[in-house]
């Protein structure tokens, strides 16, 4: 067992020998910084829950290379964003632009919130409207007197109270 374990350890060490060197960082840190800030705002279409900056998919790699080229060509952030949107649609942006087709997306939650507030207020108002004071009929008065008299008698008769 110990033997096996040490073989395993050796294999683990060997792995390090075979591991690749870290890929060299791009020569220009400014370009890289812009690449990161742009691609963090974009969705990787292969792994949709990852940003383009964080994804290791092949396509994300290619797209980062493409964006890097565009940056070096002196394109502005907006130009790069529209380059991506022309090809992959608004879906590629984590912050979709405000336009008629996305209105529901942008204002929908607020509309629902307003509806909720409306319902809440109408409910509260209805609850606060105290039921109109109801005049007691003669019959009710008699019944009440009888009940009160019973309570009185009970109190006097018993020693608890």
């Amino acid at each position: 067992m110990r033997m096996l374990f040490s073989i395993f350890l050796c294999l683990l060490c060997l792995q390090n020998v075979f591991a690749n060197d870290a890929a060299p960082l791009a020569d220009d840190p400014v370009v890289e910084q812009r690449l990161i800030s742009i691609s963090e705002e974009m969705r990787c279409l292969v792994c949709q829950n990852e940003s383009l900056a964080g994804s290791r998919s092949d396509l994300a790699n290619d797209l980062r290379r493409e964006i890097r080229t565009l940056i070096k060509e002196g394109k502005s952030d907006d130009q790069i964003r529209s380059f991506m949107v022309e090809r992959y649609g608004d879906f590629v942006l984590y912050r979709p632009p405000v336009k008629p087709i996305t209105w529901l997306l942008w204002i929908g939650p607020f509309v629902i919130l307003l509806m909720g507030v409306g319902v809440l207020f109408s409910y509260l108002r209805r609850r606060n409207e105290a039921p109109a004071a109801k005049a007691l009929s003669a019959q009710d008065n008699q019944k009440m007197d009888a009940l009160l008299a019973m309570v009185d008698k009970h109190d006097k008769g018993g020693d608890h109270g």
Binding site: D58, E66, Y88, F91
Partner: protein, 176 residues
């Protein structure tokens, strides 16, 4: 008064309906912004004859189909027999775009499984794929006589898609 108790039930039904629709949609099918836009131009070497190039410009005046494929793509193998059938039907020229592939692998796949393509462009670094918004192979584009993309299929083309969508579309586009 009684109807009031139905309101939560109704809201619940609406919610369930939305969730059911959401669950049945494939989030990987992103509508392409390229529909009804001109097919992006390119000029790249051909797969079989590396010394010749292919450009969509040369297909002007014809309705044609561009199919993005690769020998490493499993779904393409599934799609392949359908494409061979399509090519045999002679409905429209089928051009391949061999996406991020090794030439030898691609050629051996075609020789083993049959070659449905009139020719294939060889997109070694995937640059053309980016212009076409390719994010998963296979993808298929129907392009009209004026070079406008009319339809895009993401994922394998099946017989149903051919019969229900592509054939009728081709007939319609060929008329104009």
């Amino acid at each position: 008064m009684k109807a009031k108790f139905l309101i939560p039930l109704l809201l619940f039904v609406v919610l369930v309906a939305f969730l059911a629709i959401g669950l049945n949609r494939d989030p990987h099918e992103v509508p392409s912004p390229l529909i009804n836009k001109p097919a992006p131009a390119f000029d790249i070497p051909q797969l079989e004859q590396a010394n010749k190039t292919f450009s969509p410009e040369s297909m002007k005046g014809q309705v044609w189909i561009l199919n993005v494929w690769a020998s490493w793509c499993v779904a393409c193998r599934e799609e392949h027999p359908v494409l061979v059938e399509f090519a045999n039907s002679g409905q429209a020229p089928l051009i391949g775009l061999d996406y991020k592939d090794q030439r030898a692998d691609a050629l051996s796949m075609l020789s083993k499984q049959g070659n449905p393509y009139r020719l294939s462009g060889f997109d070694a670094n995937g640059r053309v794929g980016i212009d076409y918004g390719v994010y998963g192979v296979p993808e298929t584009y129907v392009i009209d006589k004026a070079g406008i993309i009319r339809f895009k299929q993401i994922g394998p083309v099946t017989r149903e898609i051919l019969n229900q969508t592509i054939y009728p579309l081709l007939t319609e586009l060929k008329k104009s």
